[in-house]
């Protein structure tokens, strides 16, 4: 009898993937004994990509270090919806200090553990794109430069969502936010130089950098697990769609993340010491319109007079990602 390998990939739910796999190959989240680090009862919006990503990421991290994990969290959606006074949904030691200092607080935590000889306890820092790419950027770079033993996870939904959807330096060009309204001759966010923190992390040549999305949750778990096997500064940047901020249906969160990947808008890869080591290839390439159309934050690009040039510009950026990170299989 000949065997033909069949690749499973998620389209709608995980059930297909897990049921047909041996128990040890199932996702961490599928396990009954998972830590539930971010427990149910938190106040995230319906369809929140960040809650999904955090749940997977932190449980994977806990699994990897046998439950010996302490976390620093920047101010933001995750911090706010996970600790609504007087409750907390965190089952792990967790500290929230300020908006811009999660990386520095984590540095301090790692230093304390080191000096006390508690090598088995690990540190994770979490922040949104605002807390990471903008206000927390200095501290993040400092942590990278010192190679502190911290895994920093950035949940990127492209804006300051918790305060009402304002623009951050991670907001994609042309997107509507409360501070880049879809009005005037150049509606939406400006086309700047971009600020792709994973690339900046790579420029620091830290041991491990990875991007991920909530469309490939097993890939996310794998990357977190891998990161936890490494000592030193590590950075994982997760694309987490925000139904409210993006103007998408709450059930489309995973689909939107997949579209971001399949159009090349968001490259999914791993890098070590500044060099790309693995890439999650685009399975079936799509034009960027497929990604932009379902999002109300891009509605001003469509309608009676579509902004063809803007869309083409965005397509150009996606093309550049595909070339730069080699997102397509050879020969396509």
């Amino acid at each position: 009898m000949s065997f033909q390998p069949i690749k499973f990939y998620q389209t709608g739910t995980f059930t297909v993937g897990n049921r047909l796999l041996a128990p040890q190959e199932r996702s961490v989240q599928a396990g009954e004994k998972r830590y539930n680090s971010l427990n149910s009862g938190h106040r995230a919006c319906q369809g929140c990509g960040e809650a999904l990503g955090a749940r997977y990421a932190i449980d994977a991290a806990m699994e990897a270090c046998h439950g010996k994990l302490i976390a620093a969290n920047a101010t933001g959606c995750l911090e706010v919806f996970s600790t609504p006074y007087p409750e907390t949904s965190w089952q792990i030691p967790w500290v929230h200090s300020l908006f811009g200092n999660a990386a520095a607080v984590a540095t301090g935590m790692a230093a304390a553990l080191k000096v006390k000889g508690q090598h088995d306890i690990r540190v994770v820092a979490q922040g949104g794109d605002g807390g990471t790419t903008d206000i927390g950027f200095g501290c993040l770079s400092g942590m990278f430069e010192r190679n502190d033993d911290v895994l920093y996870i950035c949940y990127d939904n492209g804006g300051y969502m918790n305060t009402g959807v304002q623009r951050s330096s991670a907001t994609p060009p042309a997107a509507r936010t409360a501070t880049t309204m879809a009005v005037g001759t150049e509606p939406g966010n400006a086309f700047g130089q971009g600020k792709f923190v994973p690339a900046i992390a790579m420029a620091h040549e830290i041991p491990y950098v990875a991007t991920a999305t909530v469309a490939d949750l097993r890939d996310l778990e794998y990357k977190v697990t891998k990161a936890m096997s490494i000592r030193g500064a590590r950075y994982i940047h997760i694309l987490v769609p925000c139904p409210l901020g993006w103007g998408t249906a709450s059930q489309d969160t995973i689909r939107m993340a997949r579209l971001a990947k399949e159009t090349g808008v968001f490259p999914v890869f791993e890098a070590e010491h500044g060099e790309v080591t693995a890439v999650l290839k685009i399975r079936k390439r799509l034009p960027v319109e497929e990604y932009l159309k379902p999002q109300k934050r891009y509605a001003h690009l469509f309608g009676k007079q579509p902004r063809v040039d803007t869309i083409a510009h965005i397509q150009g950026l996606a093309d550049k990602n595909i070339r730069k990170y080699k997102l397509l299989e050879e020969g396509i």
Binding site: Y85, L98, A104, V105, T107, G108, M109, G138, S141, G142
Partner: protein
């Protein structure tokens, strides 16, 4: 053991004796020698069991301290002036979270205009941040207060700022009596945190607190400072028992017994003031000194008690409540409400302007004769001030104030005073 060394060095050695576990700091004049000293001690192995972290900003320094202290490590940092301001968000955060961090503030003026010399504007600008603030008069007191600070902070679960005059104390060589490791160990036990990030007992630290409970949480911070009013004198006695000398406490007085005039101040200027008081006492003047060591919590009762029998008081301070007058003076006035005393505020020494015996003599003489204005700016060059005011009246584009004044003063590099 007696030694002759720089104030910064004495403080570094004292901090090292306290067995800090994490030291994180960003350089700023005039704190640099303290941190450099500690860095060297860690690197050459003299100070063991300590992680020394070079951070990328003062904001990072206090943030690293927060993370470290929350994880159960005895943590220390140091800053001054602009650096203190840069970390203010984290400074409030540390006290709000109740983390027993000890920080040296090498008092320096705040800009603009940029000024690296001593005054008390930096720490007094943070008087409401919830930290305990202790002011050292000498390098001996500076090193002793750091040892006391760790114990005080850890007992209260409140961070402590030890303030020492930048350059005047930090860069001055004087004789100090350095304690032994045994003495410090006898006084300061290992850090036992009230809250700690421990996988065996998970807690969430730093959650949002809404209107339902915020007032109560903040009242408790206030209550803690009130506790400090009791604890600080008690701790001074404990310190004396181990080290054989008196330090700190909330306040101390000098030749105050029958004083009709009391001079109140903080920090190193007390030394110069005491010399002047001796001379005035020799001339028959009934004048005394009240030195405030604990600026926060402000010892209202102790100050009122010390001023009970005098007729008038002069608050001489190196800080300015712009538009009002004195910062320390305002607190002193609160202490003596209803006591019928005549009070004078003197703003002196801003940005490192020397405070001389000669000027103080003249000042205190005027005070005893009741001839002082309510607020005096000591040794102010009124000519220069008025010239600038006139300039502004005449021209819209009158130019940057500081540069105009410097030009009016001429070459100043050669001036000593």
């Amino acid at each position: 053991m007696l030694k002759q060394c720089e104030g910064s060095h004495a403080v570094a050695e004292a901090v090292a004796l306290c067995r800090p576990e994490v030291i994180c700091a960003y350089p700023i004049s005039p704190q640099t020698h303290i941190v450099e000293g500690l860095g060297e001690m860690v690197k050459d192995g003299q100070l063991k069991g300590c992680e020394f972290i070079n951070v990328e900003s003062e904001f990072a320094a206090m943030s690293v301290a927060i993370g470290s202290s929350a994880t159960g490590a005895r943590t220390y940092t140091a800053t001054a002036s602009q650096g203190l301001l840069f970390m203010v968000e984290a400074v409030f955060n540390a006290s709000g979270l109740g983390l027993p961090i000890v920080m040296t503030v090498a008092n320096r003026a705040i800009g603009a205009p940029i000024n690296i010399w001593n005054d008390h504007s930096d720490s007094t600008s943070q008087r409401d941040c919830g930290w305990i603030q202790l002011f050292a008069e000498t390098n001996q007191e500076a090193l002793d207060l750091h040892i006391e600070a760790f114990k005080l902070a850890e007992e209260l679960s409140l961070p402590v700022m030890v303030c020492m005059d930048g350059f005047i104390l930090t860069h001055a060589y004087e004789r100090v009596d350095m304690p032994t490791q045994e003495q410090v160990d006898a006084f300061l036990p290992p850090y036992a945190p009230r809250q700690v990030l421990d996988p065996a007992h998970p807690v969430s630290i730093g959650a949002m607190v809404g209107p339902e409970a915020f007032m109560e949480v903040r009242y408790l911070a206030h209550a803690k400072q009130m506790q400090a009013l009791e604890l600080i004198p008690r701790m001074a006695k404990e310190f004396e028992a181990v080290f054989g000398r008196t330090i700190g406490g909330l306040i101390h007085t000098y030749r105050a017994e029958d004083a009709e005039t009391m001079v109140i101040a903080m920090g190193s200027v007390l030394g110069t003031i005491k010399d002047v008081i001796d001379e005035m006492r020799d001339a028959g003047n009934k004048i005394g000194v009240l030195g405030i060591t604990s600026f926060r919590p402000f010892p209202l009762a102790a100050v009122a008690d010390a001023l009970r029998h005098c007729k008038r008081f002069v608050v001489l301070e190196k800080s300015l409540a712009v538009g009002i007058g004195g910062i320390v003076a305002t607190d002193v006035r609160m202490a003596v409400t209803g006591m019928g005393l005549k009070g004078y505020t003197v703003i002196a020494g801003l940005g490192g302007r020397a405070i001389t015996k000669k000027s103080l003599h003249a000042l205190f003489d005027k005070a005893t004769r009741g001839e002082l204005e309510p607020v005096t700016f000591l040794d102010l060059d009124w000519k220069v001030v008025n010239k600038q005011l006139e300039r502004e009246r005449q021209h819209r584009r009158s130019g940057p104030v500081a540069e105009n004044i410097l030009r009016d003063l001429g070459v100043v590099a050669a001036k000593i005073v």
